[in-house]
């Protein structure tokens, strides 16, 4: 006979204020098979768990229902408690009377009725739970890091330094990401390249890291500890093993007027090029769309120039490789929003209206102006520069709803850099608020204002237009309540950080969730910020949400720690929620085999005593089965069932509602 313990948690007032727990306890005490039913303020606390454990021992309970929060919160807590008290941890169900009851209702009587039904239904389910044992699967102790910006580099280095192999995949010809484009970095103003390039070099030279640049992840199959990743190595037309990086080919390339992506269009590159001087690997790539040979069938000057035989190969094809990994870190970064949506700011129309990232390039010593801040239109020094913050962020109508987080800081930095390079320059910053929370951040913005003379005007800019060779910035100073007009020589837009344009498609391909914008979803915003809902796939950097470098690096190390935690074991214990076949009734139609997304179902011979095959039936490989249950629903004769969510359990659950 079932002896079920029901434990009703008040969760402080969270549940008790909306659910009459006394009533719930009375109802459940009277439910068939319920041996003991208690309520307590916090069952997840030590004394609370102790109560559960004691009840299991004293009453020889065969199952436990904790009516509390979502199983996504405390299922593990109470499973552990059950196990400690000698009850199989899978003889537990959580009745979600908080997230799905007390927190969402405002009528106590109805909420209580609902809580009673939810709990009863799970008592009926738990009566039919089976004792299960976790499944052990081997772990491939090699990690894949997708994205070679600072996030990916940091994660790769941390994992590699702990002695585990890493494959770092970057789709651009060089690692480095956005950070390599930056001039100086707040709040310390150290040169971005100076602090980044050592990491880039360390990554490519690290014996445990294999860097695959100009490569993309095409497909991920498998599960935690056992992923198979298909990577496409895009044809570079330059054999990077042979290339010495001398750069002669680049010099001779007749196509020289191609706007450089790295320079945000402020500089040019050739058709065979390295994205930037410190690129890692410092080996060129041919831009097929711009190359004279690929366009006209004639040229090959680079190949003729190259001293090394077969180094430049126009017949090179994309190649594919499959890599086995146990964990994946997604660090695919961000893009900046297309600012052309703000026609009133004149971006694209006026050459001297630029984005913050373009300003970085102007301010960078390695940039197109060698670090001089000059107007793109005429190369003159701007006397007055206007910075417009939130040019896209926090603007639900045209831009994005969220705050891009870094703009306040980099705008202050821009004003500062400008002041340092043009001592008599005038900078005006239109802002909504200054968000400078971070170590040394507020001090940094104060310094921009107080020491470097940045003028902050609180208000929005309504229009930028050209008049007499000046960019007239018209806005409102909301503190003074007056319209303002500034005649500027240059306008810098603090554009919003947005997900990569293909982020959603990518997330679908590798099987992780994303939010309405395309930023990837963490498993729990607060408590599991670097894990995704897909076990074994982790996140870091701006692909999850807008982030600055310190946060990105911290998160990268955190994801590395998660990976290393996973890799600390040779075997992994997995939820035993797997399917199993009833051989005697299986008709061998193979519908389940075809429906299974994991190829986890095989055909198995059933033999008689003489070894003669009498029939074939389906058989589940529990190592491959992920427990979705699609096969169970397909099976017409109900010959396959899913542990933890068996037909009997669900039937009982429904019949108790």
């Amino acid at each position: 006979m079932a002896k079920i313990g029901v434990f009703v948690c008040h969760c402080g007032e969270n549940i008790a204020s909306m659910v009459d727990t006394g009533n719930l306890v009375r109802s459940l005490s009277d439910h068939p098979g319920v041996e003991v039913c208690n309520e307590y303020k916090y069952f997840c606390s030590d004394p609370g768990q102790e109560t559960v454990k004691r009840a299991i021992r004293e009453h020889n309970l065969t199952g436990v229902v904790v009516a509390a929060c979502s199983p996504r919160m405390h299922e593990q807590t109470f499973r552990k408690a059950c196990a400690e008290a000698g009850l199989n941890p899978y003889m537990l169900e959580l009745a979600n009377i908080r997230e799905q009851c007390s927190w969402v209702h405002s009528n106590k009587e109805q909420a209580t009725g609902k809580a009673i039904e939810i709990t009863r239904s799970l008592v009926e389910k738990v009566k039919r739970n089976n004792e299960l044992k976790p499944i052990s699967v081997p772990v491939t102790r090699r990690a894949l890091v997708i994205g070679g910006g600072i996030a990916g580099i940091q994660a790769a280095l941390d994992i590699a330094s702990a002695g585990r192999e890493v494959v770092l995949v970057e789709r651009e010809p060089s690692i480095g990401g956005h950070m390599s484009q930056l001039s100086e970095t707040f709040p310390t103003l150290d040169c971005s390249q100076c602090i980044l390039t050592p990491r880039m070099v360390e990554a490519i030279q690290h014996p445990n890291i294999r860097v695959l640049t100009y490569s993309e992840v095409e497909e991920v199959v498998g599960y935690i500890g056992n992923f198979t990743v298909k990577v496409r190595n895009k044809a570079r037309y330059v054999d990077i093993d042979k290339c010495t990086g001398c750069g002669d080919c680049i010099q001779k390339c007749p196509q020289k007027k191609i706007p450089s992506e790295f320079e945000c269009g402020l500089g040019n590159r050739s058709a065979i090029y390295t994205p930037f001087a410190q690129a890692v690997p410092n080996k060129p790539v041919i831009d097929r769309n711009r190359c004279t040979y690929f366009k006209n069938g004639k040229c090959k000057i680079c190949q003729k120039t190259c001293q090394i035989e077969h180094c430049i190969d126009f017949d090179m094809q994309d190649t594919y490789e499959e890599i086995e990994v146990g964990a994946i870190v997604v660090a695919t970064g961000f893009q900046i929003q297309d600012t052309s949506v703000y026609g009133e700011y004149g971006y694209g129309k006026y050459k001297d209206v630029i984005t913050g990232l373009q300003f970085e390039r102007l301010a960078s010593a390695s940039g197109p102006t060698a670090g001089k801040i000059l107007r793109p239109s005429d190369g003159k020094e701007p006397e007055t520069v206007v910075f417009i913050q939130c040019a896209g962020s926090r603007d639900p109508s045209k831009g994005v709803k969220y705050c891009s987080k870094i703009c306040c800081m980099y705008t202050a930095k821009h004003a500062m850099l400008y002041a340092h390079k043009h001592h008599h320059g005038n900078s005006q910053i239109f802002y909504m608020d200054i968000r400078a929370a971070g170590k040394g951040y507020d001090e940094f913005t104060r310094r921009a204002i107080e020491e470097d003379g940045a003028g902050y005007v609180r208000g929005r800019v309504s229009k930028v237009f050209q008049e007499n060779g000046k960019l007239i910035v018209r806005g409102v100073d909301t503190l003074l309540g007056k319209p303002v007009e500034v005649a500027a020589d240059m306008v810098v837009l603090a554009t919003a950080m947005v997900p990569q344009p293909d982020a959603k498609e990518f997330a679908k391909r590798i099987g992780i969730g994303y939010d309405e914008y395309g930023f990837f979803n963490e498993a729990h915003l607060k408590l599991r910020p670097v894990e995704t809902a897909t076990a074994g796939i982790y996140l870091c950097g701006a692909c999850q949400s807008p982030k600055d470098i310190p946060d990105t690096v911290a998160q990268a190390s955190a994801s590395a720690a998660k990976v290393l935690g996973l890799f600390s074991r040779e075997q992994l214990e997995r939820e035993p929620v797997v399917a199993a076949v009833t051989e005697s009734t299986c008709a061998g139609c193979w519908g389940c085999v075809m429906a299974c997304p994991y190829n986890a179902i095989e055909k198995q011979d059933i033999k008689d005593r003489n070894g003669k095959v009498i029939k074939q039936v389906a058989s589940v490989n529990p190592g491959l089965c992920q427990g979705c249950g699609t096969c169970v629903t397909f099976c017409r004769s109900n010959s396959i069932d899913l542990a933890g969510f068996t037909e009997k359990q669900i039937f009982a659950e429904v019949m108790a509602l």
Binding site: D30, P32, G33, V34, S584, A652, M655
Partner: protein, 337 residues
């Protein structure tokens, strides 16, 4: 002198019977199926059917019968026995074969334990049979020693008049007599000619069949395998049979309440004899068909002295693959001996 029930008086009889607390059941063809259903008036009846698809047995031994209502609480399971209502009924227009089926089944339902469901309804019912003036290729009452005018199981026998206006009334039991006495004002006393009975040929020699079945060597005969080759193992012959009586007991309900029910079961089903172990003593269709024939013409007779077949022919008439008792028994009588 014989009493006559004219068709135009049938409505008056129905009213009288209904007023006396009877529900009147008669063959009704509705939604492409003939069955015994409650009628309000004569025009509801489909009396010209040779046989409705469903038998009168259904009204005494329904396809599904609630037996016990149960309520599960923490302390105990409360049960309440469910019995048929006390309604009296007139079963009007039953064919002699169907009526005989009831009498054939009486000993089965009463030999060791009196089945209250069956007998309560039997005691509350009056069977008013109409003799057959037409038959079809499947009728075989004469082959099982019955006839289009056999009175077995009937309380009243009505014989259609040759002019088609009504029936000659012949009461057989006290119960039948009382029923028609209650409507005597609606009956006429006159001499009238009754229509000719249907000519149902004798299709097999049942004595020979019984003899062969009783021979122990017949049980393992190849005959069964050959004859049952095309049987697909559905239960339609058993469920439409006026004498088949096997049932299963099932509980149906939710967490708190439910009903224990008695449902028809069929020896044609592979699961009928399936053991929990997975072993099935009758694991082929031929053994199941053999069981059905043996039961009807050997075992039942051994226990109750009567064959469990009243010759209605539904087993063949409705068989999806044109099998049936007739063909099998014909084949048995034709076996070389």
């Amino acid at each position: 002198m014989t009493r006559i029930l004219l068709k135009n008086k049938l409505d008056d009889c129905i009213v009288t019977w209904r007023n006396a607390g009877y529900s009147v059941l008669a063959p009704v063809k509705r939604n492409e199926m003939g069955s015994f259903s409650e009628v309000q008036k004569a025009s509801d009846m489909s009396l010209d059917l040779i046989l409705p698809e469903r038998t009168i047995k259904d009204r005494f031994f329904p396809q599904t019968e609630p037996m016990i209502r149960y309520k599960i609480s923490k302390q105990q399971i409360d049960t309440e026995t469910m019995t048929p209502p006390d309604t009296k009924s007139v079963c009007f227009g039953v064919r002699p074969c169907d009526a005989a089926g009831l009498e054939i089944d009486d000993p089965l339902f009463g030999w060791d334990y009196k089945d209250q469901y069956w007998f309560k309804r039997r005691n509350n019912s009056v069977i008013v049979t109409i003799t057959c003036t037409a038959s079809d290729d499947f009728c075989m009452c004469t082959s099982v020693k019955l006839s289009p005018e056999s009175t077995k199981g009937s309380d009243v026998m009505l014989r259609p008049l040759s002019n088609g206006n009504g029936w000659q009334v012949e009461t057989i039991t006290e119960r039948g007599k009382a029923l028609f006495d209650s409507v005597s004002v609606h009956l006429s006393d006159e001499k009238a000619e009754t229509a000719a009975l249907a000519q149902v040929p004798v299709r097999f020699n049942v004595e020979q069949v019984m003899e062969w079945l009783a021979n122990p060597t017949s049980f393992e005969s190849q005959f069964w395998k050959d004859i049952a080759l095309r049987c697909i193992g559905c239960g339609s012959c058993t469920f439409l049979c006026p004498t088949c009586h096997c049932f299963d007991i099932q509980d149906e309900g939710d967490t708190y309440n439910g009903i224990r029910r008695k449902n028809w079961d069929s020896c044609s089903f592979a699961n009928f004899t399936m053991h929990t172990s997975g072993h099935n003593p009758r694991n082929t269709q031929s053994t199941r068909w053999r069981q059905r024939i043996m039961h009807k013409f050997n075992y039942y007779r051994g226990k109750f002295g009567v064959n469990s077949c009243s010759g209605c022919g539904r087993c063949t008439r409705q068989c999806p693959v044109d099998m049936g008792i007739t063909e099998t028994l014909q084949a048995i009588s034709n076996l070389p001996r």
